[in-house]
C-alpha cells in the first residue's frame, strides 16, 4: 500500500529551465510534507517542507506547492543547475498521533543537462 507516490521515476531538464517534481498521497491524515534530496552513496538531505495549513513555501530556488483537495504536492526548482542532479524523495507524516515517522515516495531521478 503505497501511501506516497512519485509516478515519474526520472526527469531530464536543461540547465536554467524549471524542474517540476510531482508527488501524490492517499492518506488524508498526513499534515506535514517534506522533500529530501539524495546523492549516490549518501544519506538523504532535507530540502524544504510545507505544513497542510499552507499551500506554498519558498526557499531560494526551491518552492513547494500543496493542493490538499487533490492530495498533490510539487517541488519547483528554478533555475535548475547541474548540481541539482540527484534523486528527490517526497515524504509525508502526521504531526499528531503519527508516531513521528516519515512515509516516503519511491523517488524521482532528476538530471539537469548542460
Amino acid at each position: 500500500d503505497q501511501q506516497v507516490k512519485q509516478n515519474s521515476p526520472s526527469l531530464s531538464v536543461q540547465e536554467g529551465r524549471i524542474s517540476i517534481l510531482n508527488c501524490d498521497y492517499t492518506n488524508s491524515m498526513f499534515d506535514y510534507f517534506l522533500w529530501y534530496k539524495k546523492y549516490p552513496a549518501e544519506g538523504p538531505t532535507f530540502l524544504i517542507s510545507i505544513s497542510s495549513i499552507k499551500d506554498k513555501n519558498e526557499d531560494g530556488r526551491f518552492t513547494v506547492f500543496l493542493n490538499k483537495s487533490a492530495k498533490h504536492l510539487s517541488l519547483h526548482i528554478v533555475p535548475s543547475q547541474p548540481g541539482d542532479s540527484a534523486v528527490y524523495f517526497c515524504a509525508a507524516t502526521r504531526t499528531t498521533g503519527g508516531g513521528n515517522k516519515l512515509t516516503f515516495g519511491t523517488g524521482t531521478q532528476l538530471k539537469v543537462e548542460l
Binding site: 544519506g43 513521528n100 519511491t106
Partner: protein, 114 residues
C-alpha cells in the same frame, strides 16, 4: 564527526546468518530512526527511539528484526537468520526532537544477502 555515522558501509552475508548494523547519531540528538530502502523502492520506516520512551517498532517487517539503543547514544539494528529479501540500504537518522526537516541521515549500510 559532526554527522550521523553508520557501520559497516557495506555488508555481504550468507542467507541464514545474523547481521548487526550500527548507528552513531549526532551528539545530543534524542530521537533516532531506522529506515531501509530496497531496490527501486522508497524509504520504509522501521523503528523510532525517542529518549527513554518505549520505541515505536511498528515498521519492523518481522520478528527477525530488532533494534536497541542505550540512552541517547549508539543504536544497533540486528537482523537474525537473514533472507535475500532483506537486501537493502539501511539508513539511520537522528534529530533533536521530532521535526521532520531536521532528521539528519547517515550514509547508510548496504546489505547484500546471498
Amino acid at each position: 564527526g559532526a554527522g550521523v555515522s553508520q557501520s559497516p558501509s557495506n555488508k555481504v552475508t550468507e542467507k541464514g546468518k545474523d547481521v548487526e548494523l550500527r548507528c552513531d547519531p549526532i551528539s545530543g540528538h534524542t530521537a533516532l530512526y531506522w529506515y531501509r530502502q530496497r531496490l527501486g523502492q522508497g524509504l520504509e520506516f522501521l523503528i523510532y527511539f525517542q529518549g527513554n520512551s518505549a520505541p515505536d517498532k511498528s515498521g519492523l517487517p518481522s520478528d527477525r528484526f530488532s533494534a536497541e539503543r542505550t540512552g541517547e547514544s549508539v543504536s544497533t539494528l540486528t537482523i537474525q537468520r537473514t533472507q535475500q529479501e532483506d537486501s537493502a540500504v539501511y539508513l539511520c537518522a537522528s534529530s533533536l526532537v521530532w521535526a521532520g526537516e531536521t532528521q539528519y541521515f547517515g550514509p547508510g549500510t548496504r546489505l547484500l544477502v546471498l
